[in-house]
Assembly symmetry: C2
Homo-oligomer: 381 residues x 2
């Protein structure tokens, strides 16, 4: 293990209030503050699908977005991004960006990738060309993207992997973590470590023991929301946040549904990302304070109600379910945009409300009210 | 012929300046003034594809949009639209809307429609259900839509129709025009008549003779831009505007390319609509002051230039060709939106510039400058 020579001097974190295990805090970065708990909209290819940066700030209140290293590396490619300056400059987003390490995508390629101690050799899903991702290369790519929060290169093992495989994988991910720390060259790009261990409590503890004394700027819980039971996900979240030092931001990767946000905030998570609100929006699935609504359903065809009568977003302030259903059924582009604005606004309001409740010491009530508002509507199944 | 009992009391037109045959004027409506010459973005299904009403007003400067009667009648259907009030209320567009008569679409159905003196019976292209459009029904539909400018129900004959067929068609369109005038019931919905006659000068004159004394609120030139030569289109435009009374707005339906706008303004046309700027935008074809640009072309992959260096639109003020090309190649929704904003802005600026030149008596120079700026770039073919 080489000693890291660079540490981040632009990111800091402060916990402002605790309410049970739930926390309200602020992550300070050179590109602005992030009020936690926070949800990060996913902008895979340098755009949160269908939205402009102005939509994200003015209509949704996004404070940080996520970019996908693997996808951006392939399209448009680092040379094009670097030409603009960095990812912020290309897409005109001047607030913080967190980038993943590409590990999740690369390991999903299954037959098209080969893992060695050095890294992962893979054929990409677009051109079929061969590439090599190593911890060093992945740090270099994320620094080129100008990421405000980079993620260490880790293996996200399949959720049915054997205990033997998982132990080997955790050891390798730990060695890769050291190489990531050694490879960083920019003090203005924070770097978060990732805890793995599947849904095995022993392995989670073992990996935390190996990792948590390393000089990362924050910690993530990886390898969840990959098909396991909700209860297992929540147990692992609680276990992991309990092991992490409280003065560090705690990020749950790839999670999740609104219920998951509430449950993981309750268990001490500060940061979330997920494609669900944006992807579902494009499929006409909207999330509301009363539960999910499938806009194509016939019973919305003559509804003058907004998607969510309790919502203050642009979509709900202006358009009826009948109109949005018509746009969706007619495959109009505006349908995706209006539903995406609504869904992301809903997520950001959910975490903003949670934060306020934590600051006031009423998060237990907030959680209870959240569930009480859900309406079981068999027509939406 | 029944005498019309209703006339429009909300629309008026004033010519402010002539420059050769070109005119600058203003169409006043209850929902706001329209500075002519004007281009009307097409909002087929109750949305200009990908844009909100705020985009149309704030980013593009649209003053009036077009809705398609046939398409809206089928989707979402009149009952849904009426539930909101009218089309303005459903789509939240409070400026004027011009609706076509559905004639063009119905006649395009070819094997699926049958023309009688009464009207047109057709099977729609979505469900295959049978419908009947008559002049009376089409007036009723457009009044239900709350159209500020309705179009008379006419036949748009195929451009290779025989002279005998065209003469019968013109006579029928003329009888239908009378029935449209008799059928209107709202004094706040203006009604424009349509002159047909293909590219035959005699027929154009004959139809003008039959039609031009009828109490329409404005006149349209129909049946052009359907495959004929440009020169024939321009000749028919010049002939038709010359026959129409000068105190009436003159509207060229379904036209056209930027060149066509310049040439038809030069020949006295006041109003235009066309799907070209919006459709081309979605296909990555952008129109600029220097000519058309195909954004997918490889030579834009590393270009930091905006789509048009002379353009002040949101897209050109913020994004590079390299980024927009990346979005287009990755099939990102934002590509369509950014290119649509640019193309419509370009069209609206083109007619705004023409208007200014006409007011200053320099339209000949404006037209010359327009052509001089076009760059022949073989890479864009």
């Amino acid at each position: 293990m080489t000693e890291p020579t660079i540490t981040c001097d632009t990111l800091s974190f402060e916990v402002l209030a605790n309410d049970g295990n739930a926390r309200a805090g602020v992550v300070k970065t050179a590109r602005g503050d992030i009020q936690t708990p926070i949800f990060m909209p996913v902008g895979t290819l340098g755009t949160v699908k269908g939205l402009t940066p102005e939509d994200l700030t003015d209509e949704i209140g996004a404070q940080i977005i996520l970019g996908n290293t693997y996808h951006l590396y392939l399209r448009p490619g680092l040379d094009v991004i670097e030409l603009h300056g960095d990812l912020h400059d290309m897409m005109r987003w001047d607030k913080p960006i967190l980038t993943d390490s590409g590990g999740y995508q690369v390991f999903s390629l299954k037959e098209l990738r080969k893992i060695t101690e050095e890294g992962v050799e893979f054929q990409d899903h677009i051109h079929g060309s061969k590439h090599m991702f190593t911890p060093e290369r992945v740090m270099q790519i994320q620094e080129t993207l100008g990421s405000d929060i980079m993620m260490a290169f880790d293996e996200c093992p399949p959720h049915d992997a054997s205990k033997k495989y998982l132990r080997d994988s955790l050891a390798r991910t730990t060695r890769w973590a050291d190489r990531c720390l050694s490879a960083r060259s920019r003090s203005d790009c924070a770097l978060f470590g990732i805890l793995q261990g599947g849904i095995d409590e022993d392995l989670r503890r073992e990996h935390a023991d190996m990792m948590l004394d390393k000089p990362f700027d924050g910690w993530a819980i990886g390898g969840l929301s990959v098909g396991e039971e909700n209860s297992a996900m929540y147990e692992m979240a609680e276990l992991s946040t309990g092991l992490m030092r409280d003065e560090m931001p705690k990020y749950m990767m790839g999670v999740g549904k609104p219920d998951d946000l509430i449950e993981c905030i309750y268990r001490g998570v500060d940061m979330f990302d997920c494609v669900l609100p944006t992807r579902n929006a494009r499929n006409g699935q909207v999330l509301t304070s009363r539960g999910a609504v499938t806009i194509r359903n016939a019973h919305h065809s003559h509804s003058l109600e907004p998607l969510d009568p309790n919502c203050s977003c642009y979509t709900c302030q202006n358009y009826s379910r009948a109109y949005i259903r018509h746009l969706y059924k007619s495959r109009e582009l505006l349908s995706a945009r209006l539903c995406t604005i609504h869904n992301l606004h809903y997520y950001l309001e959910l975490v903003r409300g949670a934060r306020e409740a934590i600051l006031e010491g009423t998060f237990t009530q907030y959680r209870r009210d959240y569930y009480a508002a859900q309406v079981e509507d068999p027509r939406e199944r």
